[in-house]
Amino acid sequence: MYSQFFGNYLLNNKLVTAKQLAEAMEIKSETRLKLGVLAISAGFMNASQVEIIHGEQQRVDKRFGDLAIERGYMTSEQVNKLLAAQKTGFLLLGQALVDKGYLTNAQFSNAISDYKLKYKIKSEDNFSSTSDAMISIVSEFYHFGNASCTKTVTEYVSLLLKNIIRFIGDDFTPLEATLINNFKCERIISQQICGKFSAFTAVEANDSTIAEFASRFAQEELNTVDEYTTAAVGEFLNLHNGLFTVNMSNVNDVELELMPQKSEHNTVLDLKTNAFCIPIVFTFGTVNFILSTKN
């Protein structure tokens, strides 16, 4: 999860361009995480120590972890911890940017420590994406105000990001939420949640982006936007809202109901209350997630 918000951080601080970020997101799936990247992120080594080991690796045929232990930069316990985390895919984005030469190891090292400070991420959080850590980063990143339902909105968005990763993919960067009440939509699929937490929820994007989003979810190639394509997006929304409803019932003892989904084309959304528009930039286009609460 952190790599998505880290991408946004790099973009906002003009450390990388949107094009470089998109390119790195695409290649990160093929990249394996390097121990040096993990060591910097965990705070076990600094950038110059990593450079020294990388230089040494060009002369001797030894593994990074072994050399770092020999030089006393890391304990074998620390190396084992990193090896265990190597498979989790964490920070592949940063590594892809370093590999491409868009960021130096030193820039990456500075960016990661600033980023962690800003979002209050503890080093050990890197290795497990717990719900608490996720909710904390979402509430730090988005500014959902001080309304009574802020906690619920934060839980909703945390779950949404998890479900996007689960059902669509992890090649995205979230942008900061904006407040809207009038919104021009090319293609919008919506669903109403009723009950103690009453909300209007929707997915909006242009047709080509909707088709690609639907293709990912349906796991089949959908090139045109027809009833089947919008129904696939509707099913994503329905599954997500369903899981949210289950969580609300189990954790908060609040029973909610879902209404049938609606799909509209070239329309202007005119909401009586302000809504949060949460843009998610995928490698294939930008999808806006809209959430408007009534209480």
Binding site: A218, E227, Y228, A231, A232, G234, E235, N238, L239, N241, G242, L243, T245, V246, S249, N250, E255, E257, L258, M259, P260, Q261
Partner: protein, 125 residues
């Protein structure tokens, strides 16, 4: 009864959800799969065709799945209606059971569970 002899009705307002389930059920060797777009159409199609099993979404326009299963059971007390919903809360489950549902599946539907249900329907004849 064998699997190619059973008749299945799928009721869901999502053409996507219907197609995914229908494709899987056809792949098991079922020959006849009917489709309804809302709760009322499900009731009408049930009365006309008397399917061996119904897969019923809960959140649908016109009539909900709960309303539809109640009406179907009033017409045929032996009807086997499997409820399928993305909302797997105790309340939804209770409503489905109270209405007389045969089974409850949470979406995304696990195909293995669909296969087991159909095998039971075949066994029960």
């Amino acid at each position: 009864m064998t699997i190619d002899q059973i008749k299945v009705l799928i009721s869901d307002d999502s053409v996507f959800a219907r197609k995914k389930l229908k494709d899987y059920i056809l792949s098991l060797g079922v020959a006849e799969v009917l489709e309804a777009n809302d709760g009322q159409e499900a009731i009408d199609l049930y009365k006309e065709n008397k399917p061996d099993v119904v897969f019923m979404d809960i959140i649908m326009p016109k009539k909900t799945g709960i309303e539809a299963v109640t009406e179907i059971l009033a017409f045929d007390s032996k009807a086997k209606v499997v409820m399928a919903s993305s909302v797997g809360t105790q309340k939804y489950l209770k409503d489905a059971i109270t209405a007389g549902a045969y089974e409850f599946l949470q979406k995304p539907i696990d195909n293995n569970l669909v296969q087991k249900i159909l095998q039971n329907i075949v066994k029960e004849g």
